[in-house]
């Protein structure tokens, strides 16, 4: 009974709603059974080699994913050193989870750990440039590891840098304003592919002899600066929504420019643009796949690399691999999206006027 009332109210409340409901049901009807059939019913679940997936009518070849999961996550990172990647990951989650929980205490120390201590720990652990650890060249890094390194670096750098650029663009000092505008418009005006190519291929030509910068590091810098320009414009949108009186009231009680911006204007502005910020993060996360063109194997690149492995040349290999990669990307992006919804709701408490 309740279901019928609910359906009447939500699915068939008007003629056009009913039409849309039937259309949606039709779309599900033509797409879902095939997907379920391919991914579950006709799929191959067991097997140690390509022969398991060679049956002419078989669906997804999950043994391919299972056999290559190590490469998908760690790339060519040496098997004996994989604990370092896992430890880095655990340390990151340990810092991130309490940071994301609004009720967790000691936010200041948490932030210092995440933004200053953790990156240093991660660099040492992953690259091993310390006595006692085996050095692992970044050329060996790959898979989800690279995806996360690029995305997290981009996110961690782009938010503060974007905020500074947004403030700079609204500065009353002409030099700072011009520099900010120039920076933002330059990085927004070039495609990320070009940025990565420049960083990887052209930059070494300009650098002095004997001075070399790691390929991955160059790409990280490129991605971080690129996303900062986008972030700057998102933040600026928020700054423009804050009435002038807010900054005036803060200045009138003697607060400095940085106190005014940091305590009054930015907290309000960022709240308005949470959807835009998360949108930029999600875009950045997916754009990491472009590092493939400069020879760095992120998750998607690693999936493609494993496809050319003759041991796993099977008809459904490519589709299975891509679906798996899509699923991993979707999980991360969806998590970010849900978190932003949660924060928006939370920040709105007591703030409606």
């Amino acid at each position: 009974m309740i279901a019928i009332t609910w359906a009447r109210k939500n699915l068939f409340s008007s003629f056009w709603n009913s039409v849309l409901t039937f259309f949606a049901i039709y779309i599900i009807y033509i797409s879902l059974p095939g997907l379920i059939d391919w991914a579950f019913i006709r799929a191959v679940w067991q097997g140690d080699s390509r022969t398991a997936c060679l049956a002419p009518d078989s669906g997804a070849c999950w043994p391919f994913v299972k056999a290559n999961i190590g490469q998908f996550i760690y790339g060519r990172y040496p098997a004996s050193e994989i604990w370092r990647v896992n430890l880095t990951f655990i340390l990151g989650v340990a810092g991130l989870v309490p940071m994301l929980m609004p009720t967790a205490p000691a936010k200041r120390w948490n932030l210092i750990y995440l933004v200053i201590a953790y990156p240093l720990i991660a660099i040492v652990l992953l690259s091993g440039d310390r006595p006692g650890l085996v050095h692992v060249d970044t050329a060996m890094w790959g898979g989800l590891l690279v995806t996360l390194v690029v995305a997290v670096t981009g996110i961690v750098v782009s938010l503060p840098l974007g905020m500074l650029l947004a403030l700079g663009r609204r500065s009353e000092m002409p030099v700072i304003r011009m520099l900010s505008i120039g920076f933002i418009e330059f990085w927004r005006g070039v495609p990320l592919v070009t940025v990565l190519f420049m960083a990887s291929v052209m930059l070494p030509l300009f650098l002095p002899e004997g001075f070399s910068l790691d390929n991955l590091l160059r790409c990280l810098i490129g991605v971080a600066l690129f996303s900062s320009a986008y972030m700057a414009e998102v933040v600026r949108g928020g700054l423009q929504a804050i009435p002038r009186g807010q900054a005036e009231a803060a200045r009138a009680v003697g607060m400095s420019y940085w106190q005014t911006m940091g305590l009054i204007v930015l907290p309000q502005a960022l709240r308005y643009v949470i959807p835009g910020i998360v949108n930029t993060f999600i875009g950045l996360f997916k754009d990491t796949t472009l590092v493939l063109i400069v020879g760095i194997f992120d998750l998607l690149g690693q999936v493609r690399a494993q496809l050319s492995d003759p041991h796993w040349a099977v008809p459904q290999g490519a589709t299975t691999g891509y679906v798996f990669a899509a699923l991993v990307f979707w999980v991360f992006c969806f998590a970010m999206s849900r978190y932003s919804v949660f924060m928006e709701r939370r920040l709105n408490i007591g703030h409606k006027d």
């Binding site: 009435p243 009231a249 009138a252 009680v253 003697g254 607060m255 309000q268 007591g350 703030h351």
Partner: protein
């Protein structure tokens, strides 16, 4: 009595332009300790601009402004020093909507005066009691009426224990039934001897508390007189015309 006390605000031959528009024309005004000055005049006469020059929310281009002996120049340190001693109340309240009433009041004492948070809370509660809304301390500004918000704004300014209070049309954005509660707080403040400069259209308030009424029109001070004289026998034609409209 006021002739003997210290000069708190000295404005000497001040001019200001917005582009080609001459907003302030040769303004001269002296405010002594304990003075209550009301600035009146039609909209666009430059009275808000003048009061905003006193804490340098606007910069003047010619002339000199001294506040408590400090001359206002480009020097940011001096500007901040002046702003610490001068409280301001705005037409639109300008409370910080993302903070509670209490946090609005303690913010500047904590960050500017570097007072410990516990002491700042005590100070803020004292002034919230003085404006008669201690019970609203933990609410957000958006949950209060306009009159209550403006009283919080007054408390927020008082928490810096300023020597001078500036009011920029504090009742103009309020519904009529809320004007009185704000004016009552201002009258009490005046009775306690606070040095006040108020831009307002509330002529009743001017009669009741002002030592002097300054009438501005088209960027000039047209007339300056004690309220009894100002309202009873205005000298200038423009003052007469304004009073005829407003009373």
């Amino acid at each position: 009595m006021s002739e003997l006390s210290k000069i708190m605000i000295g404005i000497e031959h001040v001019h200001k332009w917005y582009g080609d528009f001459h907003v302030l024309k040769d303004i001269n005004l002296t405010v002594r300790e304990g003075d209550r000055i009301v600035i009146a005049g039609p909209s666009g006469s430059g009275k808000s601009t003048l009061i905003r020059c006193i804490n340098r929310l606007e910069a003047h281009q010619e002339g000199k402004i001294f506040v408590d002996g400090v001359e206002l120049t480009e020097d940011l340190k001096r500007i901040d020093a002046v702003r610490r001693e001068v409280g301001m109340v705005f037409q639109q309240f300008n409370l910080f909507p993302h903070m509670t009433v209490l946090e609005n009041c303690t913010l500047a004492p904590i960050w500017v005066r570097k007072i410990p948070k516990a002491d700042a809370d005590v100070l803020a509660m004292k002034f919230l009691e003085r404006v008669k809304i201690p019970e609203q301390a933990l609410k957000f500004p958006g949950q209060l009426s306009g009159g209550q918000q403006q009283r919080v704004a007054i408390a927020r300014a008082l928490c810096m224990t300023p020597k001078i209070m500036l009011f920029d049309e504090p009742t103009s954005a309020l519904d009529p039934e809320m004007i009185k509660e704000v004016l009552d707080v201002m009258v009490e403040l005046a009775e306690d001897g606070m040095t006040m400069v108020c831009v307002t259209h509330e002529m009743g308030f001017a009669r009741q508390v002002a030592d002097r009424v300054v009438f501005m029109d088209q960027g000039e001070i047209v007339e300056e007189a004690e309220p009894e004289i100002f309202f009873a026998t205005p000298k200038n034609e423009r003052t007469k015309a304004f009073l005829a409209q407003i009373l």
